[in-house]
């Protein structure tokens, strides 16, 4: 019997999909209702803002760690 499940369709790049899957795991799988394919997810509509905020945080972390790596590399070069 056909079922209709209420949700928010999220469309994004595969790399962002992977990050959302990670965020879902960190929240006891409470966010994603169904994974459709590499670029589409159905999520809890009340969590969309949260997902966007978490994505921002995670992407910011990546930027900082890239900066740290560069700083570390520069420090290592200066030591030589």
């Amino acid at each position: 019997m056909v079922r209709a499940i209420s949700g928010a369709l999220v469309q994004c790049d595969p790399s962002i999909t992977a990050l959302v899957l990670k965020i879902d795991k960190e929240n006891n799988n409470s966010i994603i209702i169904e994974q459709l394919d590499d670029t589409h997810l159905v999520v809890d509509p009340s969590r969309v803002t949260y997902i966007k905020r978490e994505l921002n945080n995670k992407l910011a972390e990546n930027i900082y760690s890239a900066l740290d790596d560069e700083a570390a590399a520069a420090a290592a070069a200066a030591d030589k």
Binding site: M1, V2, G7, L9, D13, I16, L36, H40, K52, A66
Partner: protein, 83 residues
């Protein structure tokens, strides 16, 4: 690094979300295809995947599809029991 930040900003901008309904567990491929065709025609279909028989429609589309399915099943039962 500035380029990287811009790239990530672009990626974030690319996230699109739309509220609606996921239809799944269709009883037959015919039923799935009929609903897919109908929802596409009335412009409410946002995503579909034939192999898994799942499709996603806008919130506005849900009621129209429910009505359409009702009409379809009425038609089918009328054929079985002609007046």
């Amino acid at each position: 690094v500035v380029d990287q930040i811009r790239l990530w900003e672009l990626e974030l901008d690319r996230i699109q979300s739309s509220i609606g309904y996921l239809f799944k567990d269709f009883s037959s491929i015919q039923q799935y295809l009929a609903i897919k065709k109908y929802s596409d025609e009335i412009g409410v279909l946002l995503w579909s995947h034939d192999n898994s028989r799942r499709l996603f429609v806008t919130s506005e589309g849900k009621q129209q599809i429910a009505d359409y399915m009702m009409r379809r099943s009425n038609k089918a039962s009328n054929r079985e029991r002609p007046k």
